[in-house]
């Protein structure tokens, strides 16, 4: 047992004293890269640009003097306010829908074992490989007046004539967005389910927890924070999506993203557009912070 050939006790690589200055320099350099890159690549361009929101235009010309007029305008013009809340509401519903259906899919997949599990997981995200513009077109066909949904409903006798209830309205926007963005919710939800240690499930069963209660008291609370992150992800995508409402929303398809966009084209009101973007940004950040605070408060790790 004792034939481990211990060489003369050698004191490992000790490099005390001298290199601490170099190390410090390296540490500073590293910090510079780590903090500098995002600042340079993201913060500086965006911040410079968002400065526009404090400027104004007169006669189609930019006036570079500080003003809060754009923000006041936003508050004063009921159109933009209501489009803003309407869009938040829409994105919220899309996120909630994706959370519910994404959770169901992720949960079912998570319950599977072995090869089937990862196969189905991939199958559920593959639709992302299809271009989204093409997908919206396809959805419009599917939901359309002479599309398969109407066809099917007529075949099974639910409808006599094609309905316009599925297209060119908010419902169509929600369905289409949910279909497009669902895979983005499934993945994070699945990952948060997968992080639950099997021994916790065993412990719950051991304490008499049937599958139902185990789900409610152990699986759901432990996976919810990750799932909410997935839903927020979808919400942000939905907020920024400006094509889907346009394409399937009909005369209800005007969203905040399109309102912002309209300021940068012929309207040439960049300052107002920037202010609208800041409003959107601040709201999203607030939503995320609140969600984070809630999940922290819920003590779920």
């Amino acid at each position: 047992m004792a034939d481990l050939s211990f060489a003369a006790p050698q004191a490992g690589p000790m490099r005390t004293g001298v290199p601490s200055r170099r190390r410090q320099l390296r540490r500073i350099a590293l910090a510079l890269v780590v903090y500098g890159l995002p600042v340079l690549l993201i913060l500086v361009p965006l911040a410079t640009f968002l400065l526009y929101s404090f400027w104004s235009t007169a006669d189609g010309q930019l006036v570079k003097s500080f003003t809060l007029a754009n923000y006041i305008d936003f508050l004063a013009k009921p159109v933009y306010r209501s489009v803003f809340t309407g869009t938040l509401w829409l994105a919220g519903i899309v996120a909630t829908t994706s959370l519910i259906f994404g959770y169901i899919i992720a949960y079912l997949i998570w319950r599977l074992e072995g090869r089937l599990r990862y196969f189905l997981l991939l199958i559920s995200v593959i639709p992302l490989a299809m271009n989204y513009i093409v997908k919206i077109y396809a959805m419009r066909n599917i939901l359309g007046y002479n599309g398969p949904v109407n066809w099917l409903l007529i075949q099974i006798g639910v409808l006599d004539v094609p309905s316009k209830a599925f297209i060119y309205n908010q419902t169509a926007v929600m369905i289409t967005m949910a279909v497009i963005y669902l895979p983005y919710a499934i993945l994070p939800i699945f990952l948060s389910l997968e992080r639950i240690s099997p021994s916790l499930m065993a412990a719950s069963a051991d304490l008499g927890g049937r599958p139902g209660p185990t789900f409610v008291h152990v699986v759901l609370p432990l996976s919810l924070p990750g799932s909410i992150v997935g839903a927020l992800f979808v919400m942000v995508l939905a907020l920024g999506d400006y094509l889907t409402p346009q394409m399937v929303g009909g005369n209800q398809g005007f969203t905040f993203g399109r309102a912002i966009w309209s300021q940068f084209g012929m309207a040439f009101n960049w300052p107002f557009g920037a202010a609208l973007a800041v409003v959107l940004l601040v709201s999203v950040v607030l939503i995320i912070l609140v969600a984070a605070a809630i999940s922290r408060h819920a003590r779920v790790k």
């Binding site: 021994s199 065993a202 008499g208 927890g209 008291h217 819920a298 779920v300």
Partner: protein, 371 residues
């Protein structure tokens, strides 16, 4: 003679059968980790599984709890086959080796979980949780979360969580492993007292042989996925069947022995003399075992019928606190030494290294290892 049994060991066999493991074995793929075992566990019994790391202790417990299906055999509870019964229907509760506390629930919520699953009224849950938390000395930590506890505290929560439901069988996978000596001792007392009070079957895994002896009605000694011996603490301590048990179960002196004679005159010859043997002659070379504490030093004292003596030479002497250990060579030039353990205060008269040591022992304390 005073009865040494203060832990019901002698009553061990009087338990009504509760659980029967019939030919239960386990393989992972081609690797066999538990050879088929047959074991009966009595209702209200305190059964301990003892064995080296990797010997299959946890595996048995997991099959009892329903966490791992056996590869072969059936498990019966009250004569009913529960091999395929789902975990949550088994009236068993487990203290897991890795605690498995719910990270998102407070200590109180963790402990109350089982009662809640059984839809007990809130007031009852609160009261029982408070009681059991007091028992494990965590009353003041009820509102904490597992991440805010030390390792030992976490294990006590796990223990509290398993016992609060008063299950028919409690399965404990080294529940005291992480506790310090002081707390460990008080938890041993607590566990044993609890077990007596609720008369619940405990299946208990430990590494600590003293713990096993002091707590158990019976002990199952395991090695390499095989049951080496099952018996009361006294059985196992005084009558080991195999060298493995003799060695594993506390420190022991093992000496080689030769067989002579046959039938009634069958005897084993060891460096400590010859010892009578009953029963069928074992096949091959055997050995004998005698415990270090079975020796006395000095010639004084009544010499009973089976009293033997011999003079050895002191080789070394180690202070171990309550006891002191001597290594004694059995005669000049002998290849054999024995370890002798004496209560430290007994060493009043000094013996120097290399000086002769008068050893005395009783032949009844010599076990003959035939398995």
């Amino acid at each position: 003679m005073t009865s040494l049994s203060s832990n019901g060991a002698d009553a061990g066999m009087s338990f009504r059968n509760l659980i029967h493991l019939a030919g239960v074995g386990k393989s992972y793929g081609a690797v066999n980790v538990l050879k088929p075992i047959d074991l009966t566990i009595g209702d209200g019994e305190f059964l301990t599984i003892l064995g080296p790391s990797g010997s299959g202790k946890t595996t048995i417990l997991r099959m009892l709890g329903g966490f791992t299906p056996p590869s072969t055999g059936r498990i019966l509870l009250d004569g009913v086959d529960i091999t395929d019964m789902p975990i949550f229907e088994r009236p068993f509760n487990t203290v897991f080796q890795d605690y498995a506390l719910f990270p998102h629930m407070s200590v109180a919520k963790n402990v109350g979980y089982g009662l809640k699953m059984r839809r007990r009224p809130r007031a009852e849950i609160d009261a029982k949780v408070a009681d059991v938390l007091a028992m494990v000395e965590l009353a003041d930590k009820a509102a904490r979360y597992p991440a805010e506890l030390s390792g030992g505290q976490r294990q006590r929560v796990a223990l509290a969580r398993a016992i609060v439901c008063e299950p028919r069988v409690v399965l404990l996978d080294e529940p005291l492993g992480a506790l310090d000596a002081e707390l460990r001792r008080s938890m041993q007392d607590f566990l044993k007292a609890l077990q007596r009070r609720i008369r619940t079957t405990f299946v208990f895994i430990t590494h600590d042989q003293e713990e096993a002896i002091s707590m158990s009605d019976r002990i199952v000694v395991m090695d390499h996925g095989k049951v080496e011996q099952v018996g009361t603490p006294k059985d196992i301590y005084y009558r080991p069947h195999s060298e493995f048990v003799a060695k594993f179960f506390g420190e022991n002196n093992i000496l080689p022995a030769r067989l002579t004679g046959a039938g009634a005159s069958l005897a084993a010859h060891s460096p400590l003399g010859s010892h009578a043997l009953s029963g069928p002659a074992p096949a091959d070379a055997i050995s004998i075992a005698i415990r270090p504490e079975s020796f006395c030093v000095g010639m004084a004292g009544k010499s009973a019928d089976d009293q033997r003596s011999m003079t050895g030479l002191l080789e070394s002497l180690t202070f171990l606190g309550a006891t002191t250990q001597l290594v004694v060579r059995l005669g000049e030039g002998s290849p054999h030494t024995v370890k002798v353990r004496l209560p430290t205060p007994d060493l009043g008269s000094g013996i120097g290294i290399g000086e002769p040591v008068p050893l005395r022992w009783s032949d009844a304390d010599v076990s003959i290892l035939t398995a």
